[in-house]
């Protein structure tokens, strides 16, 4: 596999995220959220997207606020440390956004079904809940063996998975560590995969530890070098969660005008990662840096 997949963020989004496509993002839930990629989607004024994921902290809210989204299939859309998200609320309350309500388990099973190439997965959750009222992709079935009442969750196969990772080579082989959320299944379920990486490293570093590789590189479509591409979410090994950014976003996005100002500041003016880092400022970068390091004990893949 000798062809480099390295693209700019602009090229990757332009090529692999057409209007109307379905995207899955925020796959590690609270960490490694691909904010830089989401901001490029906003910059390119994509329309009629479907967003898929368990929770995404404030990422889905930003793309919704920018008018890019027609449909959300998710378990939770909010701000993890402050609660409700305002663009999402406004869009649902004014009926301008379609919603398919999931739980974390049902969306995990929908992506797992997509990954496994089966049309549904059974689960014991959601029984008796009203998720069935707002999600036509959940149905009650009976187990063919035990007769148990179960929730069948229809498979989801997104057009694109966008994954922020710690390090990748130019061929799409990427190391991810920390909690993995639904990343592995979501990558396997998706037709194409865009990786944004804190660092681009030599294939040597990646291939020395194949258990740390998140998904087989041959299925990856694009690799983008994007330091701080997960900020303000935490990236294990690179930087801590920027709590203040989430609190500020809550305050700034309370009104449509406030969100427009936020977007101008954080999205419109930050096309390159150098711009973004400059906007963050040295102090903030120093504050978010890891203070305690803990390196793994090597293992031997010799023969």
């Amino acid at each position: 596999m000798s062809t480099s997949k390295l693209l700019t963020l602009s090229e990757a989004v332009s090529r692999f995220v057409p209007d109307g496509s379905s995207l899955t993002m925020g796959l590690s839930l609270e960490s490694l959220i691909p904010f830089a990629a989401a901001h490029e989607i906003i910059r390119q004024r994509k329309r009629n997207l479907t967003l898929i994921g368990p929770i995404s902290d404030i990422l889905f809210d930003q793309i919704i606020g920018a008018g890019c989204v027609r449909n959300v299939r998710a378990a939770w859309v909010g701000n993890v440390i402050t609660g409700s998200c305002y663009n999402f609320r406004r869009a649902i309350e004014t009926r301008t956004l379609e919603m398919e309500d999931h739980s974390n388990l049902t969306v995990a099973m929908a992506l797992r079904a997509g990954a496994m190439g089966v049309p549904f997965m059974p689960a014991r959750t959601a029984l008796g809940s009203d998720l069935f009222k707002t999600n036509a992709n959940l149905k009650i079935i009976n187990c063919p063996f035990s007769g148990d009442r179960l929730t069948a969750v229809a498979a989801i196969n997104p057009d694109v998975a966008i994954v922020h990772v710690q390090r990748a080579d130019e061929y799409g082989n990427a190391h991810v560590w920390g909690n993995l959320g639904v990343t592995r299944d979501a990558c396997l379920a998706s037709r194409s995969i865009i990786i944004t990486a804190e660092e681009i490293v030599s294939p040597d570093i990646i291939s020395r530890d194949p258990n740390r590789v998140i998904t087989p590189g041959f299925r990856v479509s694009a690799v983008v070098h994007r330091p701080w591409g997960g900020h303000p979410s935490p990236v294990p090994g690179y930087y801590n969660r920027d709590h203040q950014a989430f609190i500020d976003y809550r305050n700034e996005s309370k009104t449509v005008e406030g969100f427009a100002d936020w977007q101008k500041r954080w999205v419109s003016g930050t096309e390159s990662h150098q711009d973004y880092i400059k906007l963050l400022g040295e102090n903030r970068i120093a504050e978010l840096a890891l203070k305690q390091h803990m390196m793994t004990e090597p293992v031997d893949y010799g023969y």
Binding site: A74, V80, G83, N104, T125, A126, G128, G178, R184, L290
Partner: protein, 263 residues
Amino acid sequence: MTKQNTKSRKWTPAELMVTAAAREIADGEVVFVGMRLPLLGFLLAKSTHAPDAVGVYELGIVRDTLAPEPILTMGDLPNLYRAQWLADTADAMALLQQGSVDISFIGGAQVDRFGNLNTSYIGGVENITTRLPGSGGACDLACLAKRHIIIMSHEKRRFVPRVDYITSPGYGDGGNWRQQVGLPRGGPSTVITTLGILRFDSDSREMALSSVHPGITADMVAENTGWPLHISADLSQTPEPSDEELVMLRRFDPQGYWTGRKS
């Protein structure tokens, strides 16, 4: 609770609630840890009476030790440091669904007498007045943990006869509803509110007031509840947080972000 009483106390209402939540955890139990106050409750239990409790987090984390630094949310890097296991959400959910999780905690915007929770649509689906964030893992915890604890602000608009939308099932219409719909186990065991603690009748599955917080009367609780509230025959007063518990809590939430010492 009168202003005077509050001022004379060493603890905030949130600290009392977190302490009550922590005391629901027995040592050695497997706890599915949620966001916000439940996260603090787990840390408090683990650092006091339940050192061998194990925490499972929907992000794909299992921990059996405290994080080395205060955390605001379960995805903070100190919560990954020396975790017992870092894996997939499906793995954490496997532990939950197979019945390995003893206890979990859920917050809510609306609750009804049978412990059903709404964190999705106020006004219901046909007539949405407020859209809330949704289930996250809450529906799964309510369906699949051996028991779950509800943590709520006690207000009449939140304690309603029937929730507008069941995000997280409690006992449905009461009685053996959970078995009828196919839920394999569990149900809410306790509701911890800003005013008191409520528990569920083992037959009817309706909640009744079990204890009131210091300075609160049963009448005050009933007034803030949207249906005629049952009061337990042996109504007690919620024990206050101990000094040891408060010390620990302030170590875990030094800025008072969750326990409201600053806000």
